[in-house]
């Protein structure tokens, strides 16, 4: 029998049992739709976690002084002030550190800022123009600290959005910190991140000014912020920074390093592992429902073979080979699952459109899970169709004819 006629015969028999075919198809439909929408939800939450963390500055590495463990004794971060401006210029050398984009030394302290009658206490950092790049921040109004502000010990200050609004300060205002007047030259754009601590409540002054007037300890820095050229070069930027600092500090054994480097990729990879686990969990539940749908197809095909025993016997008597009957029943199962799969894609896409608009859950549907879900559905149909089809093919024609 030609393939065309086999398909035609299969379709005729499915149309002959409309309700049964529709119900069987529903099992596959919901399985496929569930796979597509849950993977879509997982994808969307993974995207949003990545986006949130990169708004914190994903490419950021922080170098802190002091070894965490020194000769077996836990020294505690920052227990020794070992970072210097020499380290900063070493790290800023693009020849040795091609993957490091920006290097910002930081000294900081908690200070009161006074603007006329208002008074606000916040973290005041002394840093360089690279601070803006390293933290992946943008200016709201005004300008950031320039290189000449740093070299001239300029008495200028840049405020975070929250700090500025709490002080009622605007660009051009004069504020005092520790009795020293600073001119507000810029206000940072809101970071939008709900990260650890409020990234919008802070103030930045030139590094040199902070070292001389606010924190003390000229030439020394408390921390160095680094940003890698991209999120994919964080690893190599980390290694370059480690290498350079070991060299400038004359340390041969890296386990005795008097500094430590931490990155936000650690946070990122943890968060991604969590969302990935959730996605896999959701997708597995959906895949199980697809499997159950497949078993439904097999069940119906077995019923169909039993019910149509005498038809199978007749077809055999009329010259259908075992192969003809095998193909006919596999195609019936395949058609059931293919139709269910395609309708499932439609339902999944519809869910991807409706759910974000009604339930405030983001869904991001990508082509791969759609293709995989349909492929799996059809494969399930064929696999679960094989056993009933073999039963049909193996029926002895005489016994099949006798069945009424």
């Amino acid at each position: 029998m030609s393939l065309l006629h086999t398909i035609e015969t299969g379709l005729r028999s499915l149309l002959g049992h409309r309700l049964r075919s529709v119900l069987t198809t529903l099992g596959i439909l919901f399985g496929v739709a569930a796979v597509i929408s849950t993977v879509g939800i997982g994808q969307a939450s993974s995207d949003s976690v990545t986006a949130r963390i990169s708004s914190l500055g994903t490419n950021l590495l922080t170098i802190s002084p002091g070894s965490t463990v020194s000769a077996g004794v836990f020294g505690g971060g920052g227990s020794a002030n070992t970072l210097t401006m020499a380290d900063v210029s070493g790290l800023a050398d693009h020849q040795n550190a091609p993957d490091i984009q920006a290097v910002a030394p930081v000294v900081q302290g908690r200070e009161s800022i006074i603007d006329g009658s208002s008074n606000w206490s916040t973290t005041v950092s002394g840093s360089t123009p690279d601070w803006l790049v390293a933290n992946a921040r943008n200016m709201g109004t005004g300008i950031f600290i320039s290189a000449s502000d740093v070299s001239k010990r300029g008495q200028v200050i840049v405020l975070g959005a929250t700090t500025a609004s709490n002080l009622g300060a605007a660009v051009g205002d004069l504020v005092t910190v520790k009795g020293i007047p600073f001119q507000v030259i810029g206000i940072l754009a809101s970071s939008g991140s709900q990260g650890f601590g409020n990234a919008d409540d802070l103030a930045v002054v030139p590094l040199t000014t902070a070292q001389d007037e606010l924190v003390g300890g000229a030439g020394s820095v408390q921390r160095i912020l680094l940003s890698a050229t991209s999120s994919s070069t964080i690893g190599s930027a980390y290694l370059e920074a480690d290498q350079i600092l070991l060299q400038t500090h004359h340390i041969t054994n890296s386990s005795q390093a008097d500094f430590s480097i931490t990155s936000q990729t650690q946070v990122l990879s943890t968060a991604q592992a969590v969302t990935q686990t959730l996605t896999i969990l959701l997708a597995s539940v959906a895949a199980i429902s697809l499997l159950v749908g497949g078993i439904g197809v097999m069940n119906i095909m077995l019923v169909s073979v039993t019910e149509r025993t005498s038809e199978i016997g007749l077809r055999k008597a009329l010259g259908a080979t075992p192969g003809d009957l095998f193909r006919q029943f596999v195609i019936e199962a395949g058609v059931l699952t293919a139709v269910g799969g395609l309708l499932g894609v439609g339902t999944g896409l519809a869910a991807g459109y409706i759910v974000p608009r009604t339930a405030n859950i983001a869904v991001h549907i990508t082509p791969l899970p759609v293709l995989v879900a349909v492929g799996v559905a059809v494969a399930v149909g064929l696999v679960f169709g094989v056993y009933p089809a073999l039963r049909a093919a193996r029926l002895a024609p005489i016994e099949a004819l006798r069945a009424q």
Partner: protein
């Protein structure tokens, strides 16, 4: 009419068919030999349990004998596999069953077309309509089996057996489910087809069939007990 020089279509040589094993072994046919010539109308009669059905299954290539040889149109078909037997059934044998065995969801001509689907013939509709015309049902082609009388259904089944232009029409109790009038009607159709040259074997216990046949073979306990030429 039987022609003395007619070719032999079927030859059974010492066919034995046993079911079961060991002590439970039952021989449905034992050492059965028979020959049928092209153009013959043969009746096979016998009480139930006589081996009629087994003979029909072997003649129809629906089953293979345990031992012995079956020559069909010069070909030994007793040792063919299932697929090869399916081809022999499709190309050379037309079946008529007691229960008609029409597919209820298909119209008469779709039913008649069925065997042609398994040999990829063109003009299937035309051939089906021709066959229906031969059994006098050209005005019922689009009727479903349930819309036809028993006699009409059996004629559709005969058309289905005819449509492939087979060497042999094998009818298993073709009148078993019909009233007297319809039985006569069906037998008349078979007789007419035989007069056009078709070889027909009717397996039956209906005594009305014997007078129509050229020859009657009687079976009992898996053996031929009587052979009567009309």
């Amino acid at each position: 009419m039987v022609n003395g020089q007619a070719e032999e279509l079927i030859r059974l040589e010492s066919i034995t068919k046993t079911y079961g094993t060991g002590d439970a072994e039952v021989a449905a046919l034992s050492d059965f030999s028979m020959s049928v010539k092209t153009g013959e109308l043969l009746a096979v009669m016998g009480p139930s349990g006589s081996g009629k059905s087994t003979l029909m299954n072997i003649l129809g290539c629906l089953d293979t004998p345990t031992s012995g040889r079956y020559w069909f149109a010069g070909q030994d078909v007793s040792r063919l596999n299932e697929t090869e037997l399916a081809h022999v059934r499709n190309r050379r044998i037309g079946f008529v069953f007691q229960q008609f065995q029409l597919l209820p969801k298909m119209s008469a001509w779709r039913n008649v077309e069925l065997p042609l689907l398994y040999r990829n013939t063109r003009d299937r509709r035309d051939l089906a309509l021709q066959a229906l015309d031969q059994v006098g049902l050209s005005n019922r082609v689009n009727h479903r089996p349930t819309q036809l009388s028993g006699g009409q259904q059996q004629r559709v089944a005969i058309a289905r057996a005819l449509v492939t232009n087979p060497d042999l029409i094998l009818a298993d109790e073709p009148t078993g489910n019909l009233d007297t009038v319809a039985s006569k009607d069906v037998l008349a159709v078979l007789k007419e087809l035989n007069e056009q040259g078709r070889t027909i074997i009717i397996i039956t216990h209906d005594p009305e069939v014997a007078p129509v046949a050229h020859r009657t073979v009687r079976l009992r306990d898996g053996r031929m007990v009587q052979e009567v030429a009309a």
